[in-house]
Amino acid sequence: MIIIHINDGILAPIPIGVLWIITILTITFGYFKIRKLFNSEDYEKFIPYIGVLAAVIFAFQYVNYPIIGGSSGHLIGGTLVAVILGPWASVLVLFLVLMVQSLFGDGGLLALGANTFNMGIICGIIGFFIVVGIKRLLDRTKIQNTYNIIVSTAIGSYIALLIASIACGIQLVISGIGTFEFVIPAMLFWYSLIGIGEAVISALIIFYILKTKPNFIMTQKFLRIF
């Protein structure tokens, strides 16, 4: 079995509890946020594609690509989903993906709150606003608008992954696994390498959607894509 997320028994009860509370509150708030969009015709038309996107994230999280130093990495996809569906929907989708993975023993059910916090909330919500910030900066340059969003997604997903790795490292240290001096630099080292794959895959998927079905990017007004 490939172990790809935090499993049960790794984190201490306090971080598990706190991160579950944050995750539940965020999902509830996010659900009411995206419910406002449910009235639009577009959302109904895109339901099957949202399902496909979740399947793509699920499958890509299984594909561990080798990186130097005897480790491996896989796509997280939080920022990617946030750029396509919006930050609140991304938390929901990532939560559902992680929940199904936990049924197979990939990531614990007790640690589902922590995994959703790291991959859905940090990579999704925070990553989305990083992408928006970078996009607004690039809009001031002469780079073509389509490339702006691709570059912003790549950089945003990379930075969000690094932030998530620091957050995950802090959770490990609080739970008594390793010292701060060891865990945080180690997490940053590995995820600075893994993040390259995250950035490239996310950018390629956004590029593909922009070329084939640009309307599927539901954040286009917010991101000023067109």
């Binding site: 079995m1 490939i2 172990i3 790809i4 997320h5 499993n7 049960d8 028994g9 790794i10 659900y31 995206i34 419910r35 449910f38 009235n39 109904e44 038309k45 339901i47 099957p48 594609y49 949202i50 399902g51 496909v52 979740a54 399947a55 793509v56 699920f58 499958a59 299984y62 594909v63 561990n64 690509y65 080798p66 990186i67 005897g70 480790s71 491996s72 990495g73 896989h74 929901l92 989708v93 559902l96 993906v97 199904v100 936990s102 049924l103 197979f104 023993g105 614990g108 059910l109 490292g169 490990l172 696994i177 390793g178 060891f182 865990v183 180690a186 997490m187 590995w190 995820y191 893994i194």
Partner: protein, 96 residues
């Protein structure tokens, strides 16, 4: 029938994407270019000296031991769950 025509392309897309994903996983596992090495998090936990303990519960689908089969079942389950979730979410909103 009209409704089915409207959803023709989404349905084709779902099937095509699932076939591509299954194909991608099968190639990866058959030719072995997918890495069996621990990922970043697992590597850090291992290097920090943590020894994995027995889980508190047995995951419902842990009987599926083949990674490839796990991937296929997972893809089907997640596609169904997300479609059902968003379908009923939208339906309940529209009914109100």
């Amino acid at each position: 029938m009209e409704k089915l025509k409207e959803y023709k392309w989404p349905i084709i897309t779902i099937f095509l994407t699932i076939i591509i994903l299954i194909f991608m996983l099968s190639i990866g596992y058959t030719f072995g270019f997918l890495s069996e090495n621990p990922d970043g998090l697992e590597k850090v936990i291992e290097d920090a000296g943590y020894v994995e303990q027995e889980g508190l519960w047995v995951p419902i689908l842990s009987w599926v031991e083949n990674n490839y089969l796990e991937g296929i079942i997972g893809i089907v389950i997640i596609t169904l769950i997300v479609n059902i979730f968003f379908y009923f979410g939208i339906k309940s909103k529209k009914n109100k």
